[in-house]
């Protein structure tokens, strides 16, 4: 735009997934020899934009030009050919192959039609050195490397393709601080070599250090584009928020200091994903888990539900320490816990089986006498649940896979409510369901809390956390960084603490609670 002719330009790009619009007339201009940061909330359309650039998905409309010529990419391989290489957030390495195999995978060196292993080794060593990761052995299998090393291999792999435009999508999220410093040096060198770099990160300090230019995305549109350093962190956060509230939330009854603590964790740690987490949830309380995606929220819920092995720290139910060895143990007896999983298709439902069978699974032991299922009792309970949740189904004996996403999610919830749980863990339950069903779920959640349930609610949607929760714990890097209470739960405070910016967050208090 200013002076230098753009290397790559996207104009009026739109993309819909089903009824959901991921991108709406988005524009982006990339110039050579610069680092361009892209900012936005979860679901703002950044990932879709990159996938379109990298040839993973095709846009519904809009044009892309490279060197002034219009281009379109049918596959990632085509984008690579054109010099656009992306380092994806979900790793694209093949676990059973060696580091060297992976680095040259898209275009291995050949002799007599076979892969030239010596040349491959040389290319791999060069690429690893360029990425500042010469400590990684090219013969090691990728599956044996820790996550941070894999990410370095991913960067080396991208460099081996000699890109003109290099896209890094949260490429530093799994790296150690030392690695990040190395990667930054590499990126700055690449910039001076004339590459165009697109950098997507939630870490504001990284963007401040690296970027020349920033573009903010919101709701599938680019809302602002400005030279790096010309806006304060707070202004950037304002740009990232600013969307209309479309959900209606039930009123919160306010804190009840007399209620007893039902679920408590003390110094919970697991592998390198959970770091010394302490929290407590009282009866009748909805406690939210906030933060960026993948900061340990899911692992925390799984830890409570007895899925993780080698957990250190204590879990207390009704003030008494318990050890929960499996989901069965978690849901039975006096613990009475239920987990509404994130991926209803794999962890929540048996899709080909009927609605009736799916509903009864978690409660079979309560419905059967001497191993025989009491069909009448089952029917009564199922009728109650279908009524309570207003599940729209053509019948109880059709496969649950035939229901809409929202109704499937209701079945998952109903399945666990059949056990009348006292502790309910929700793992992003409204993902991919329509607004109407979302509202019903919010009402239901509050109704259950009013009836005395303790609810721990993880959501990637900040509006939901604000509208539903009495308290929100914000996680970062597996640790609780901040607790927001009551009116202190604002979008500004949520985003600021999710990005781990220590600033003026009105009405919030620092540090972990409980």
């Amino acid at each position: 735009m200013d002076g230098a002719a753009p290397l790559f330009r996207m104009e009026g790009i739109s993309k819909r997934y089903g009824g959901v619009r991921a991108l709406e007339k988005a524009d982006l201009t990339v110039t050579a020899g610069g680092i361009h940061a892209i900012l936005g909330e979860n679901g703002a359309g950044k990932s879709t934009l990159i996938k379109i650039m990298a040839g993973v998905v095709a846009p519904d409309e809009g044009t892309m030009t490279l060197d002034g010529r219009e281009v379109s990419f049918a596959s990632p391989a085509a984008a690579n050919q054109a010099g656009i290489v992306c380092i994806f957030q979900e790793l694209s390495l093949i676990p059973e192959l060696s580091v060297a195999d992976n680095i040259v995978i898209s275009d291995p060196p050949k002799r007599f039609g076979m892969i030239d292993r010596k040349a491959q080794r040389r290319i791999a060593e060069e690429a690893l050195a360029r990425a500042g990761a010469s400590d990684i052995h090219p013969c090691a299998l990728v599956k044996d490397l820790p996550l941070s090393r894999r990410q370095m291999v991913e960067i080396a792999k991208a460099l081996a393709r000699k890109p003109r435009i290099l896209i890094l999508d949260e490429a530093t999220s799994a790296l150690t601080a030392a690695d990040v410093a190395k990667v930054f040096e590499v990126l700055k060198r690449l910039r001076s070599e004339g590459l165009a770099l697109l950098y997507i990160s939630h870490r504001m300090n990284e963007i401040a250090e690296l970027a020349d230019h920033c573009t903010v995305f919101r709701n599938g549109r680019n809302v602002a584009s400005y030279p790096a350093g010309s806006k304060s962190d707070n202004e950037v956060v304002e740009l990232m928020i600013g969307r209309e509230y479309s959900h209606i939330f039930p009123p919160k009854p306010g804190p009840d200091a007399a209620a007893t603590t039902v679920l408590e964790a003390r110094n919970l740690s697991w592998a390198d994903r959970l770091d010394n987490i302490s929290l407590s949830v009282r009866a009748g309380e909805v406690v939210g888990l906030g933060g960026l995606d993948g900061q340990g929220q899911r692992e925390l819920l799984l830890a409570f539900f007895g899925v993780l092995r080698g957990l250190s720290g204590e879990i207390l139910i009704d003030g008494k320490p318990v050890s929960i060895a499996s989901p069965t143990a978690a849901s039975h007896g006096r613990i009475g816990m239920a987990l509404i999983p994130e991926d209803r298709k794999t962890e929540g439902l048996m899709l080909p089986m009927t609605v009736r069978e799916n509903l009864s699974f978690a409660a079979l032991d309560r419905l059967s006498k001497g191993g025989i299922i009491d069909r009448a009792a089952e029917q009564r309970l199922i009728d109650d649940m279908v009524g309570l949740l207003a599940i729209k189904t053509a019948g109880l004996d059709i496969p649950v896979g035939a229901l809409s996403g929202g109704n499937q999610q209701k079945v998952v919830i109903a399945k666990w409510l059949m056990r009348q749980p006292r502790i309910i863990l929700l793992n992003d339950p409204t993902r991919g369901i329509d607004v109407g069903t979302k509202q019903e779920l919010y009402q239901l959640m509050r109704k259950l809390a009013d009836a005395g349930a303790a609810i721990l609610f993880y959501s990637t949607d900040y509006d939901e956390l604000i509208g539903c929760c009495d308290r929100v714990l914000v996680l970062y890097d597996g640790a609780v960084k901040r607790e927001l209470v009551g009116d202190g739960i604002t979008e500004h405070a949520l985003i600021a603490s999710a990005l781990n910016i220590h600033g003026e967050g009105a009405g919030s208090r620092q540090g972990a609670g409980a």
């Binding site: 694209s92 059973e96 192959l97 039609g113 892969i115 013969c139 299998l141 799984l302």
Partner: protein, 326 residues
């Protein structure tokens, strides 16, 4: 400098299979009434290479995270074809061999096309094509019979220099001509990549489809080579249903014994060959110990269970229980 350790780790499955085979064969020949003689080795080799070829075929498909339940039937069909065609003058015999191998390639290509382009599950697709191949075999040989060029047959099942079994040399040649180029080609790597993580392979721009198609097609070829050798050993063609099915199942057992992962992406045909030879030897052990042949299936089953259990120890190290089901 530590290269050899990575090599060792990569070849662990193959070396383990080699070790099992050596131990089994030592026990076998040590207790054989005739001892470790060229004759004993030749007979064992001739029995072993049949399964070795079929196991190699199975390996190629299993590497792509698929399974080929039709290998035994391709083996049977090509046996029946060879008993018609691989006969007569040198030229006629050569033509017959080419026709038999070509048939194997076509069978494999059909499997590959159905699985890759038809997007059917390998297990179902190959059960169906396997039935078709057996049907064709039955049309060719409603009753056992036929014959084969005996000069060629005796040459390939005899011994070189009085000691080296010719069938083992043939196996080695096939490994060098088919397996080594495949495993070191771009398409071979694509087959591994597709088996290990198809999405990552796609994202990396790997020619997944061509790699998998080649794997299925070459599997057909290897099964046909097996069928050809069966004809050389028996001098006849027979559409034997039970034998075809047994070869299919044994090939899966041999592949697992040989350190090839049924989840795909890992293992080598060399390992599968030793797996096949070891499996055959386990079966023959009973004869040298004078056990009732009735015990053979039970005995083979127990040994197989122990062997495949070795691979399950990794589960004890899993810390997130959800990974058990991945």
């Amino acid at each position: 400098m530590r290269d050899w350790r990575y090599w060792l780790a990569e070849q662990r499955g193959t070396l383990l299979a080699f070790g099992i085979f050596i131990v089994m064969f030592a026990i076998y020949s040590g207790n054989h009434p005739a001892g470790f003689t060229a004759n004993v080795v030749q007979t064992a080799a001739n029995k072993g290479v049949l399964l070795a070829f079929v196991a190699m075929a199975q390996t190629l498909v299993v590497i792509t995270a698929g399974i080929d339940l039709s290998v035994g039937m391709i083996f049977t069909l090509t046996n029946c074809m060879a008993s018609w065609l691989v006969i007569g003058t040198g030229l006629e015999t050569a033509f017959g061999v080419l026709a038999v191998l070509g048939t194997g390639l076509i069978c494999g290509a059909v499997n590959g096309a159905i699985v890759i382009y038809g997007r059917l599950q390998p297990i179902v697709a190959t059960i169906a094509t396997g039935a078709v191949f057996f049907g064709l075999a039955l049309l060719l040989r409603p009753v056992p019979g036929g014959s084969v060029n005996e000069d060629l047959a005796d040459f390939l099942t005899g011994r070189f220099f009085g000691v080296v079994p010719a069938s083992l040399v043939a196996l080695l040649v096939i490994v060098l001509v088919v397996w080594v180029p495949f495993s070191r080609s771009e398409f071979g790597r694509a087959a591994y990549a597709a088996g290990s993580s198809e999405t990552a392979a796609y994202m990396s721009g790997v020619p997944i489809r061509r790699g998998k198609f080649l794997a299925y097609t070459l599997a057909g070829l290897l099964a046909a080579i097996g069928g050809l050798f069966l004809t050389f050993f028996t001098y006849t063609g027979e559409a034997a249903y039970a034998s075809g099915n047994a070869y299919t199942l044994f090939s899966i057992a041999a592949v697992v014994l040989g350190g090839v992962s049924l989840f795909g992406g890992k293992g080598s045909a060399i390992g599968a060959i030793f797996g096949a030879l070891a499996f055959r030897t386990i079966g023959d052990l009973l004869f040298v110990f004078d056990f009732d042949p009735l015990w053979q299936p039970l005995f083979q089953g127990v040994i197989l269970l122990i062997a495949v259990s070795l691979g399950a120890f990794a589960l004890f190290r899993v810390r997130n229980r959800l990974e058990w089901f991945l």
